[in-house]
Amino acid sequence: MMSTAGRGLVLDENLLFEKSQPGRVGYSIASLDVPDVTPDNSLLREEIADFPELSEVDVVRHYTRLSTWNYGVDSGFYPLGSCTMKYNPKVNEAAARFPGFTDIHPQTPEALNQGALELMYNLQHDLEEVSGFPAMTLQPAAGAQGEFTGMLMIRAWHEANGQQRHKVIIPDTAHGTNPASAALCGYEVITVASDGVLSQEAVAAVMDDDVAALMVTNPNTLGLFEADVRAICDLVHERGGLVYADGANLNALMGISRPGDIGIDVMHFNLHKTFSTPHGGGGPGSGPVGVVEKLEPFLPAPVVTKDAEGYKLEYDRPESIGRLKSFYGHFSILVRAYSYILSMGGEGLRRATELAVLNANYIRARLEGEYELPNKQRSLHEVVFSEDGLQNDCHTLDVAKRLIDYGYHPPTIYFPLVVHGALMIEPTETESKQMIDEFCDALLAIAEEAKSAPELLKQAPVRAKVKRLDEATAARKPILRWPQES
């Protein structure tokens, strides 16, 4: 169990509105030394209701206290399946804070931004080497926008070939954003059931000349490698379709298998997963997209190129799908990812993958037997258990809540939907054997509690700042404004 001792100074905190005192201010501002101007009436609000009045220290303490309730990968183990919550090395932060990067403006002339452009060019090249794709855009803001970018390019390619296709095939083990991305691009989504992994027969049964693409997540959301992916790509290509890969789980392949070599046509990266840039509330994300040669003309403009005079932003791309993001994507995130790649090196990236897979399989080996494993195929970087083995009407939610009492952030639960009461654990390469053993001890103790003292699970968490939350009421009747409407 993680030490959760010394909680006497975990402080409660009210809303700023509740702390407000009439007339209290942070600063006294010097009187105006320029002529008074009254704004036009149409620009003035009649009243600002209950605007909080606070001193500086009130505000500082408010946010500092809230920050102490936070939990992140710098606090402890964060086994959130499908999210690759790996540690973000501080050297990335140091690199992103170099004045040469922080003090430039995106509209600075190219000749004065050569360092930044060189970094983007080199990062494109490195991601191409990792993925096996010959061309790349760094523009998309995060994974789902990467999917959208990829699907727009697929549509543009079909249209350039004089074809209007209407359907996209997506297996039930794909990431949840895939159907939304396909639908946003105007496609009808055809869902195919998989038996853990996708079969050629299942794809063949729905593949026809109206299918624009297959979107596949590899390894899939069960943490399983799509072993038939090459044959499935052939099958889709034979009917004139393309194959999109969701690269969210690249942490299981990096340095070992290249999607561009096995028939995939388009793939997005999640730099905030695989390449150690901040994830979640600490983001923003970054979702570069790699493509095969025939899709290169459709990449969003501009792309970074290099000629005898130096690095350039190339805008003259008549077949481009256009711009997806202001300027050049989340540049400072690109710096962090490049820093990670350079500090790891090719061997290091491969080693990270090996350890991520080893860690997940070690967890599987320790928990299998106590927790039900619905898919017996070999796991890669994450492992998904079901709630079927839990005793005394205990459910996945209860296990997740009880883990909080043991000092761990819960894993992803109830996803993927194909597993009954899914408990989806992804340790990443970050964690040591000691940490993983402690975590597994906690989960085994919880399985034991489910047998002997199920109320401990039902009431959990009891050691956290707040007890079991009423999620249904929070979603049905959220309080979204102050003062609370009566």
Binding site: I413, E471, A472, A475, R476
Partner: protein
């Protein structure tokens, strides 16, 4: 879990009440229990045409978001307007107050595909 005798059922865990050429559609007790606390419901509009097997609405619980599929083709003649404001009714009364839509049947032949209560019970046990 209860499954009323007079209803027909689908593999997507919807129930269908047939009254002449109008059918009432909702989700089963099994479906609401699997979903858990339902927090959001999206329904089609009166006048929409539905096609067998296509999604006509969305049910979201604290666990998951699910599409609801039209068991038969037809035109929407009435929707349960209370549901979007009180989604918990789907949990508390799936067969009565929790009905979702009424359809005017386009083709009564598609009713033959539906399961009766014993076939559905068997299906749920296998599932």
């Amino acid at each position: 879990m209860s499954f009323p005798e007079e209803l027909k059922y689908t593999e997507d865990h919807e129930w269908v009440l047939i009254e002449d050429d109008v059918v009432t559609i909702g989700i089963t007790d099994f479906a609401q229990e699997q979903l858990g606390d339902i927090v959001f419901v999206e329904l089609p509009e009166v006048g929409d045409s539905l096609e067998t097997g296509k999604s006509f609405g969305v049910v979201e619980s604290v666990k998951a978001v699910s599409d609801v599929y039209a068991p038969v083709s037809g035109e929407v003649v009435e929707i349960n307007e209370e549901l979007p404001d009180d989604p918990e009714v789907l949990n508390n009364s799936p067969y009565d107050d929790g009905w979702m839509i009424k359809l005017k049947l386009a083709d009564s032949a598609s009713l033959d595909e539906l399961m009766d209560v014993s076939a559905y019970q068997e299906f749920v046990e296998k599932d």
